[in-house]
Subunit: 330 residues, 2 copies
Amino acid sequence: MADTEFSLIYQQIAPCAGVRDDVLLGIGDDAAIVQPTTGQSIVVALDTLVSGRHFFPTCAPEDIAWKALAVNLSDLAAMGAVPKWALLSLSLPLENAQKGWIKRFMAGWQGLAQQYAVALIGGDTTRADQLAVSVTLIGEVSPGSAIQRSGAMPGDEIWLSGTIGDAGLALAQRYANQAVDDAVAMRLDRPTPRVNLGFSLRNLATAAIDISDGFLADLGHILKASGNLGARVEVDAMPFSPMVDAWQRQMSPLLPLTSGDDYELLFTAPIALHNRLNALSEELSVALTCVGRVLPSDQGMQLIKNGELLVIPQRQGFDHFASPAIMKTS
Amino acid sequence: MADTEFSLIYQQIAPCAGVRDDVLLGIGDDAAIVQPTTGQSIVVALDTLVSGRHFFPTCAPEDIAWKALAVNLSDLAAMGAVPKWALLSLSLPLENAQKGWIKRFMAGWQGLAQQYAVALIGGDTTRADQLAVSVTLIGEVSPGSAIQRSGAMPGDEIWLSGTIGDAGLALAQRYANQAVDDAVAMRLDRPTPRVNLGFSLRNLATAAIDISDGFLADLGHILKASGNLGARVEVDAMPFSPMVDAWQRQMSPLLPLTSGDDYELLFTAPIALHNRLNALSEELSVALTCVGRVLPSDQGMQLIKNGELLVIPQRQGFDHFASPAIMKTS
């Protein structure tokens, strides 16, 4: 057979697949076979990144691969699941269907996949006019212990991991053709999925989501799924890095609350767990910040700054189809 | 939140998701959760179809959806697996991101998904310049009973389901702007995945693959995976529909052997099972034809027609990257 495509796949991708004992049949047959752990539930996420929309066309192949896997790891983290197996669909223009590009792409993939022992078990490689990367990530969770968006209760505290707004600042700087500081660029290009945190939050958090659309939009998803609950958010308590803090002081505190792509975990938990969550933060070396409280239903979203109510922007997150001209990176 | 995208997803897609008792959490959270059957292995396939490459830009949305699911069902069929859960990634140009288009697409999806009780549990919808549909299909198989490509043995018979070449004829006619007969058009646009046959072939077939690249290329995959075995194929025994038979008589018998997209099952089985496979054919009302024998390694692929050896074409199947200008439909 003519085997350029197969050469690409096998020579460049298969050796980077990673090894797991529970992979019974990996890349190379009609489908892959894995052996789930007896009694566990299967958790699956699928996210597609498209060039010019979710990442800049100039983005390094290593970063594209990292991010395509990271956003899916982040989805599983938000469920408290353990990631195990991935499938990769690469839609490649001719300039990307080259050994050098694939090699760099797979180096970025491996850099993150190995951290979480994720095995690449299959996928598809096709030609396309526009570069797109679609990742399906499969993991496991104990039945009933997955953290869903719908479990928040009035009175729960609202928590955030890490800092938010860094990716948004990097994106704003790139659009303005300004120099982008390495620290915020890394937050945009190589987000850190909070896998271990998510796993540790099982049976602690009442609801969780990862911040991809933006803090306000994603908090809105939790509140809506939990029965149209309200929330009171202390803007002065929001965890901003020094650069984002300077940015929001200069521009608007709403910017880091509405920019996406942070891939931090936003979760709710009973107030009785406050100290336990602070201890978990130290244990995992991941900053956890309490930023507000869940309110009873139909009380809306109240943003408090300096003791006063801020006006909530109508547009709390990104929408692909409502704003076709705006590039989004998640 | 601005929710055009979410409206698209929820209003048009979620109601078409289908219902299964083993779906613990479907569309709408960060990831989906399903409960596998205790003791079963998990089988996963991922295939992406890109407009202008895997289907004509004029293709009906119902047919695109059908085919995107069918090619994955066919992959699981080739393993002998039972399909259960699907995820769908839609990369949509603005003209496709419309309720009418999504509605028709989902009607095509449901038409096939309901036949096999496949539930849509999640996915992703993004804007793109080029229409692309990526489907991840997850199923189950008993440990050790999956049919792999690598199990063919010298002396095994080579079998084919249905007829081959119909999709290739339809494609050739469309390229030539000729009228395409409905019967062959259906074989190209709405292929029939051989799910029940594949399931029945567990513990009968020694190796199996579905015909996507073309008979010779796909037989080559089995022979290579089984230890570089050889094969003797009786071209006069090949199952052609009357239209394909006329086509190959006029043009070349190699055309239906090298055209892809048939999604029939090609499998090998011990000669002792010959009568049992004929009985299975009657039982399932699926034509099964013995077209040759597996030979010991390094005997190559021998095509016999009228008792004479045919010259084997160098190019036995399609390659996306070697032939970027040729549209392929699988």
